[in-house]
């Protein structure tokens, strides 16, 4: 079973795999991470992936439209944004702090194709900060890169995925979870690809993701259950 997963699932995937294998011990699993856009392009061009876990709903829909999917998109989680200041002693990390003089650069993911980037824009817009912070924005290829920009010390703050804060590098730092109302929901959908159509494991995994076990793991790693809206 080859799973193509959005990079934001990196941390969660290990535990998910383990839990799945407990239920289906005979399955061999291989996970390939990548940006959702790249994975979509690969799947439409014959990539040997059975299941696709996207970071949004648009790419799976695209696959369905192109006839590259063997199932309807199913939402398995919702992502959350966090605000992260590089300086650990910022005790009250609020959005308004982004206006501070000493916050020179703010990293977000590229809104053009990264769902988290799009959400970050919306947050800044809703908070009425957009015009003021626009000159401070730098764009990473994806949230991972946005986080790396902060981690390297080059950017002073970033709007990144909550899931990333569970990475070994960032574990234990303080972040401010952004109110979900400030952006449209970061629903994450999965599909079974044409390649995985006849692979029973693909369907098993798809079903597994909807189980409580899986949902618990996802929540542990900074995702919301798709239902708690």
């Amino acid at each position: 079973l080859t799973i193509a997963a959005a990079s934001s699932l990196r941390q969660a995937m290990g535990d998910l795999e383990e839990a799945f294998l407990e239920q289906h011990p005979d399955t061999g699993i291989r996970v390939i991470f990548g940006s959702s856009g790249k994975l979509t392009a690969q799947i439409t061009n014959g990539a040997p992936y059975d299941v696709f876990l996207s970071a949004d709903t648009a790419y799976p829909e695209r696959l369905v439209a192109l006839g590259a999917a063997a199932s309807e998109p199913a939402i398995y989680a919702r992502g959350r944004l966090v605000l992260w200041y590089r300086e650990p002693d910022r005790t009250n990390p609020e959005l308004a702090g982004l206006l501070d003089q000493d916050i020179r650069r703010i990293a977000i993911a590229q809104p053009r194709h990264a769902p988290y980037g799009q959400a970050a824009l919306e947050v800044l817009g809703s908070a009425g900060l957009w015009q003021a912070v626009k000159p401070k924005l730098v764009y990473g290829e994806n949230v991972g890169q946005a986080a790396a920009m902060v981690a390297s010390g080059a950017a002073d703050a970033g709007l990144i995925a909550w899931s990333l804060t569970h990475s070994p590098e960032l574990a234990g730092r303080s972040f401010a979870l952004i109110n979900e109302d400030l952006h449209s929901p970061l629903a994450m959908a999965m599909v079974i690809t044409r390649q995985g159509a006849d692979n029973p494991d693909a369907r098993n995994f798809s079903n597994f993701l909807q189980t409580i076990t899986a949902q618990d793991i996802l929540q542990q790693y900074g995702f919301q259950a798709p239902t708690t809206d």
Binding site: R30, F33, N45, G46, G144
Partner: protein
Amino acid sequence: MPELSPQDWQAITVTLKLCALTTIILLVLATPLAWWLAHKRSTGRTLVQALVALPLVLPPTVLGFYLLLALGPRGPVGQSLEAVGLTHLAFSFEGILVASVVYSLPFAVQPLMESFRALGARPVEVAASLGAGRLDRLFTVILPLCRGGFIVAATLTFAHTLGEFGVILMLGGSIPGETQVLSVLIYDYTEAMEYAAAHRLSLGLLVFSFVVLVAVYSLNRRFDVVKP
């Protein structure tokens, strides 16, 4: 380095295989092409020379994307291959090998071309007059006298293939043991913010490459041909 995971080792193996094969294939392909470019004095030459450099100007992922279109099951190359009973090249080691060859072609062709031009006709004429045939001249005169050009071509190709990941990631899909090379793996580690692992592999890669390059260059220096 006991901290390397089996996946790391797998990536290292794939990488070395890819780099070695790319370098060898490129030298074999580039030598006649560069020779032709160095000696042909027509418009055709400049067109081919420019064509060879073109893969460079596209962003690697984009190039990878186009290669995916071309070599994949729906692309012209992929379909032709499948038509004759072979399998298409996307997401396979052969595919990323082809991609690396295309992508590093200019680094092999251009230095070789210049070094062939700098060689001039005389040494080859001398060897021919002394009874050496074509291949004999290639191996006993051209190769040793253009060694510098070959070294530049080989090291640039090797290093560039080592570091390249955009094309490979797109076309190869990072399949462990097949298309997951070291650079993709390091990239993955940094993406996952597993910096410790990334640093470790990067350092290893740097040290390894440095040692290889120093060895190659020292060896080259020992056989320097001095021009008056």
